[in-house]
């Protein structure tokens, strides 16, 4: 009799477990069918719109609070082979990353100063820098430089490690391109020959692409297409003008020689004076002397600045 009762209890218990099992299986099957339908009907796009409103709560914390037991996500038995394989791969990864990262992190800190000559520099990531006269470049050895003055960069591509240039007025980030950065006191100019460059100042930023340049004007970022053919000329120390209006000529000369040249506000018809000429390895004095004879220009030299007071043509 007793054994019969026991048997019934046992049966019932067993049945209970069976029932639960089948319930779960049913759920799983249903769920699987739903998922399959979702994937087949290409409904994913409409279903994902709620993604940002859907929360993922701390399941393990809740489980521990409810049951007072530890929550371990998915208890599976692991084939010992995988354990060893995992251990081996962890050791491999650690060794590899140690070698790899230590190689990268060791900084070869260097400072380059160009006095009266244009300097060519090859950095340890094979990026090329042309440093203009009277400029200074500080290299941390890790694709990070600090620039004072003017330099042309030809940065090697490395999508994982952006190349950054810190200046007194903002930061420039690139992945791999060719461009010029020019800082003068409180001002900065960036001209991009090829690729993409990001300029950041405080909260603001601008992305420049090939053949675009930017300048700070009254602390505002102004960017446009490169129109002058002499933007990158200082490196070759050559200038070419073809029917170029005289005000643009002075602008280019100023940029090329790195000295401010200003035109008096009372000069009229400046865009009517056109210059066609080319200069190579000539000093600013020599160029100005030629312009003087061509256009009857009146120049006043003040300390490190030239002021044009009259043009006649």
């Amino acid at each position: 009799m007793l054994s019969k009762i026991k048997n019934i209890i046992f049966k019932h218990k067993n049945n209970d477990v069976m029932m639960e099992k089948s319930q779960l299986n049913l759920w799983n099957e249903e769920q699987y069918e739903n998922l399959k339908n979702l994937l087949q009907s290409n409904e994913i796009d409409s279903k994902i719109q709620d993604f940002n409103n859907y929360n993922f709560y701390n399941k393990s914390k809740a489980y521990e609070k409810i049951t007072g037991e530890k929550y371990e996500a998915g208890t599976r038995t692991i084939n010992p082979f995988y354990k060893y394989a995992a251990a081996a791969s962890i050791i491999f990864i650690l060794t590899w990353s140690f070698i790899h990262f230590t190689k990268d992190i060791i900084p070869t800190h260097q400072t380059f100063v160009s006095n009266n000559v244009v300097k060519q520099i090859t950095l340890n990531d094979n990026s090329l820098v042309t440093l203009d006269k009277n400029s200074k470049l500080d290299y941390s050895g890790n694709r990070e430089v600090v620039l004072e003055g003017r330099a042309f960069f030809n940065v090697t591509k490395d999508s994982k490690h952006p190349f950054t240039i810190q200046t007194a007025k903002g930061k420039i980030t690139v992945l791999g391109t060719r461009f010029t950065v020019w800082t003068t006191g409180d001002n900065i100019e960036v001209a991009v020959e090829e690729g993409k460059v990001k300029y950041e100042l405080d909260e603001r930023s601008v992305i420049l692409e090939g053949n675009q340049w930017m300048k700070l004007v009254n602390n505002d970022i102004v960017s446009s297409k490169i129109t002058s053919s002499n933007t990158f000329s200082w490196q070759q120390n050559a200038l070419t003008f073809r029917d170029t209006p005289i005000d643009v000529v002075f602008n280019d000369l100023s940029r090329h020689f790195g000295l401010p040249i200003t035109l008096s506000a009372n000069i009229k018809n400046k865009s009517k004076c056109l210059l066609t000429s080319s200069y190579k390895n000539e000093s600013l004095e020599q160029v100005l002397a030629e312009l003087k004879t061509l256009f009857n220009i009146n120049i006043i030299k003040k300390d490190k600045e030239y002021v044009i007071t009259a043009i006649n043509c």
């Binding site: 049945n15 209970d16 477990v17 029932m19 639960e20 099992k21 319930q23 779960l24 299986n25 759920w27 799983n28 099957e29 249903e30 769920q31 699987y32 739903n34 998922l35 399959k36 979702l38 994937l39 994913i44 796009d45 279903k47 994902i48 719109q49 709620d50 993604f51 940002n52 409103n53 859907y54 929360n55 993922f56 709560y57 399941k59 809740a62 489980y63 609070k65 409810i66 049951t67 037991e69 929550y71 996500a73 999508s159 952006p162 980030t173 992945l175 993409k196 990001k198 992305i207």
Partner: protein, 164 residues
């Protein structure tokens, strides 16, 4: 009910239930407490699931009732007024399934590699144009397209892994 079964049920339902309450009643902060209450009750009383023929509706309607109870007890006039709008759902299977499905789907989106996920969410969920993403992240449109294709493929395989 043995522990393993409880854990499995908890695992599958906790998150969808919390979201269901959070969305239906706008009880974002209380959703977890409400759902935990229901699970605590199940854990303590170990109810006979033998007599429950649908765990899914049992759980969803339980948390729904619990939420209504909560609102009535809150005695806040505003929430009391609100509670009168809600009627016990007549076993809205479709609504429940929706939450269970979304849970799995969003889980697999969250498991995508970081960069892939970032691009996928920006493009497909936040509706940003490929051009805008390319400018923001400084990568080419081609790369973005590749990441999105990869994301879809990974979501698919991840979802189909849950074979019964």
């Amino acid at each position: 009910m043995n522990k393993n079964t409880f854990k499995q049920i908890f695992n599958q339902y906790y998150n969808p239930l919390c979201n269901y309450i959070a969305h239906h009643f706008k009880l974002n902060e209380e959703a977890e407490d409400i759902v935990s209450d229901v699970f605590t009750h199940i854990w303590d009383t170990n109810p006979d699931f033998d007599k429950v023929d649908n765990i899914k509706s049992y759980l969803f309607t339980s948390v729904y009732r619990k939420a209504l109870e909560f609102i009535r007890h809150a005695k806040d006039k505003k929430t009391t007024e609100l509670s009168e709008k809600f009627v016990i759902p007549d076993d809205n299977e479709q609504d429940f399934n929706e939450y269970l499905l979304k849970d799995k789907l969003y889980q697999s989106i969250r498991q995508l590699p970081t960069k892939c996920q970032l691009i996928f969410v920006k493009a497909k969920i936040n509706g940003m144009s490929h051009k805008a993403i390319s400018e923001e992240l400084g990568i080419s449109i081609k790369t973005i397209e590749n990441h999105i294709t990869k994301a879809y493929a990974m979501i698919r395989t991840d979802l189909l892994k849950i074979k019964p």
